[in-house]
Subunit: 690 residues, 2 copies
Amino acid sequence: MKKIILYLFLFCTLISYGQKKEILNIVNGSVQLTTTLQSDGSFLYAVMYKGKPVIEESALGFVLAKPAITLNQFSINQIDSSFVNETWQPVWGEENTIHNKYKQVVIHLTDAGTKTYLVNMVFRVFDDGVGFRFEFPKQNSLNYFIVQDELTHFKMSGDHKAFWIPGDFDTNEYAYNTTKLSEIDALAASNKEKDIAVVALIGPNAVQTPLMMKSDNGLYINIHEAALLNYPAMHLNFNKENLTFSSVLVPDAVGNKAYLQTPFTSPWRTIIVSDKATEILSSKLILNLNEPSSIKNTDFIKPQKFIGMWWEMHTGKANWFKRDGKHGANTQNVKKYIDFAAKHKFDGVLVEGWNTGWEEWFGNWKEEVFDFVTPYDDYDINELTNYAKDKGVKIIMHHETSGSAIDYERKLDTAYDFMLNHNMNTVKTGYVGKIIPRGEHHDGQWMVNHYTRVAEKTAKYKIMLDAHESVHPTGLHRTYPNWMANEAARGTEFNNAPTLGIAPDHNTILPFTRLMGGPMDYTPGLFHFQLNQFDATRKQKVLSTLAKQLALYITMYSPIQMAADLPENYEKYLDAFQFIKDVPVNWSVTKIIEAEPGDFVTIARKSKNNRDWFVGSITDENARSLHLKLNFLDKDKKYKAIIYRDGLNADYNFNPTSYIIDQKLVNINSVLTIPIAKGGGCAMSIYEIQ
Amino acid sequence: MKKIILYLFLFCTLISYGQKKEILNIVNGSVQLTTTLQSDGSFLYAVMYKGKPVIEESALGFVLAKPAITLNQFSINQIDSSFVNETWQPVWGEENTIHNKYKQVVIHLTDAGTKTYLVNMVFRVFDDGVGFRFEFPKQNSLNYFIVQDELTHFKMSGDHKAFWIPGDFDTNEYAYNTTKLSEIDALAASNKEKDIAVVALIGPNAVQTPLMMKSDNGLYINIHEAALLNYPAMHLNFNKENLTFSSVLVPDAVGNKAYLQTPFTSPWRTIIVSDKATEILSSKLILNLNEPSSIKNTDFIKPQKFIGMWWEMHTGKANWFKRDGKHGANTQNVKKYIDFAAKHKFDGVLVEGWNTGWEEWFGNWKEEVFDFVTPYDDYDINELTNYAKDKGVKIIMHHETSGSAIDYERKLDTAYDFMLNHNMNTVKTGYVGKIIPRGEHHDGQWMVNHYTRVAEKTAKYKIMLDAHESVHPTGLHRTYPNWMANEAARGTEFNNAPTLGIAPDHNTILPFTRLMGGPMDYTPGLFHFQLNQFDATRKQKVLSTLAKQLALYITMYSPIQMAADLPENYEKYLDAFQFIKDVPVNWSVTKIIEAEPGDFVTIARKSKNNRDWFVGSITDENARSLHLKLNFLDKDKKYKAIIYRDGLNADYNFNPTSYIIDQKLVNINSVLTIPIAKGGGCAMSIYEIQ
């Protein structure tokens, strides 16, 4: 890591207008941050991009419940500034090296009312946006304190187009809505949903972050948070009269938001902005705002691909529980999965429903459902442990908690000891149901701390973590690189949801929203599209072409990728399946070729291990033509491209399994033109010819 | 254990009055229970004692939150009856053998509204009262359910004199109030208190159980509960218009009362009645309603006496924390306690403040305060472990949780492993502060389950448990005999409370209230009465004579008894201290000689090991004369009585340390007349002369 920190005051200007106000400007490339202390003590900030307003003057502050005080009028004590220009190497990811370059100012404030409480506002200005957070430094008159509300505002400069899901304390599995900001209607959006386990809607104008917007004057704006630790998640409530978002923190069981002690630093509030959509996707701002890895020895962390005993349950072929005689996770069946994984060189086999408790697991707000160590009697764990080991495959553990995080915490050590004793080092956790401790929410401070505790505890056991039904990710995979992925959005399973399903534009929005915070265990790779395979009454369809399912392995980055469909469905299309077998899960370089939220995404990635490149391109419900310049390839090298593309009559609705596999010799000068069907996509493996 | 169970229908009569109502009478000795199913479906019960009404016709029922239904109208399906007459031996206690004799009826009811839900009402009629509970049997239409309210009523037959403390979800450490039922004013009573850490008052007419009453016509009536498992504690709200108590269950964080699954049996609601106050104290009804020991090998459970690093903190000599340089639990100081314990043959030394966390332990609703394994750096735990072992003394562990039960549960195994590794097998737990999970209460279902989990986990580690700030005990020491004692009332520490202190009648009320549920770690034995010993500004006094402090070891039964005062205070009165050294903590026979709640208590107990007897007698603020017939002694045996009594001018207020020690030869025919001072007492050791 190279790091240059300059403590300068050169890059910002503080202008005082007599008693009236003090204004500080910080510019980094196209981004300009302005902070203002008004004569009434209110503290405002604003963000511009190439002279266009991104965030208009917006107030910052806090309401504390204990001590009971509102902190929204301040005086400035001191301003510190610094400059950082460094690079660092992630343990895994989309790039070998990440550049972190920002200008920072720390504005030391005192509460103007009591002249007692100290709050620092910290701004980092990157060339693709701004991050800011609050610091409550160690101080004599404030030690423990309770947050009632955070008064962070984001005043928008216009009635932008927005890609949003309803604000909710318990779930982020909603379908995306694309409307003008003035047309946000979270109640109507929520009412359309019938297939989400637990809903705690905030209100008609509340939405979740990462929130993606596009302004009429061509700016792409993303609002989210980074390094969400020991604090509730931030949602946003929109005031349609003044076009201003205000922060909504997730409450705890008694309505408080956060229990804190000085010194405390809040999560970063992030504003990523560009006039190119591709630059939103390539932004490393959120990752850069997270702390470096807290894990010293990261050797145990290995990006991986897996298959699993999972889609059988969603399609009705099998069940998690045993009572109906369709128990999927029986020894014989799991052996078949292990055989398939070994044959096709997958690293892991996820097995859901292996342990007792599923008979009554959900909907009862029951505290002790699973013990995480007792297999069903038709699941011979010792035999399967040995079988998998012999075949060179790892079984992936599944810890569904049924929302009872409190009980999972009691049993973590026992559960992880059990995993190590059975040769497992990856766990998928789940939190379906209302949270216990009762009254807590999936996105509140207590659960945020729970997820972190689990990440830390799994790291201690050298276990990789994939958390489902968790809070929205905020780049913490930098700090906890064993925390490989989260669900935390509407994933493949919703293809099976009877009402809304997964719309064709869903995967073109996710990279701009959910994925801004970190990898998603989306579980792509469905090859069977009419979901009445095992239950003739089912009308659900996967609204995608087969080629698009392949492309998702590139457009939806994760270091842990599932091939979600059943082995028998892959065996029907082994030539297409070859792409899933070949595609890496760890990269040295990533190029966002083209992207428009809600419309299309094309990404090229270079394998971490060699000079091979892989490309994924997807579209929404509209067909389009991909014009791909291969100018990212190495000069003077020859490549063979294997192109998995939609067939001529392919269509997500009527003909999803029509695909064509082409082979071409290509080089840096090649340009490919590839038709992409409605709801379709294209995937490419581009191998260097030695 | 001898057990006779007869399934008969001889002892009860069911009378049907056409369509109107069905009446069932059960008589056992002086106690008569009548249950009535009214023509409108309401189910009533009533209790008489020797023809006098104890509980007038009172309704029973439930309100469920899920499914949302009120269960208060029923039809009878079936009535089962049985008769039990057995004896059993407790692991430790006041008696070698306990007699359990009752008539039981189980009335199988169906909800008359929906004709769907089954509820059984189970009544046990003893010769000293009645216990009843609700059973929700396994049934097709009810599996998981949530209780909103229990509709149990106790209609009193008059405006009795009552000994009560305010109903409160979080504390039972109030001073007692003695008023007519119509004069209950819980708000005024609570307002007098300034020294209780966490208060969650229910309302002006709410009181706690065990509730002791005396009727104008001479009946002593006690209402409480037995076997409180997986359910919130019951408090009572009094309706002054119809003289009826109704049950108030402690709510959880979201206002629900209990999360249950069929089959479920509620705790027993108990009514103990007699025309002799002594029979209330000798009642084993509550213990008999609890299940036998769940611990198979009880060899590790040993009644014990201990001293401790504790009163130093309450008196201001030392502190739990280190920051002020008065850290009590330092190696040198604790060695002095070990020396003193060894010299005077105490089993244990409690050490509070041994572990880090106390600097900021209380009042911050902080989740992670103590780790239970890290000693302060001036506490050499290995040296002290060896030192205590060499001296034949056990150090007693202290696990203050600061109310964060959730964090204690995470660390139980680590904490108990640590104890075993340091040769400790008794733990005092503490829950000072607002409970975490936040929104839960000390007396709610979640915490009730927590205390039980701790009892079970300590048993697994062969550790004895003494829980402070816990829910009121309900006889569970029969089922968990390692759960030796609880605080759960106003104990000795309140002598140091600046406002109310411990009134002279407090200890004459506790046996009729708090102690009905089980042993209390009251920590008697103060020998220094003006509490300005280390802090001249303190005006608090111990409102007791020294002789009374000795008598408490008999009148307040516990298998784990502390000698609470400082070694240096005992060394001033070693002749009186001899009684504390001699008094056993385990008994073969107990005789309640005389008692009147609020006035006096005299109890004689026979040692478990030999024919020696020990007597304790206490009074309230009034002097009295004890006339004690020693007719409980064995015939034809000679005894030497050592009598520790108040001096001639002794007075709890002005002259507490005046005492006289007499020796006398006595036998079964002896009658002693002993003056007892205001706020005074008398203790006797009566040794058989071989």
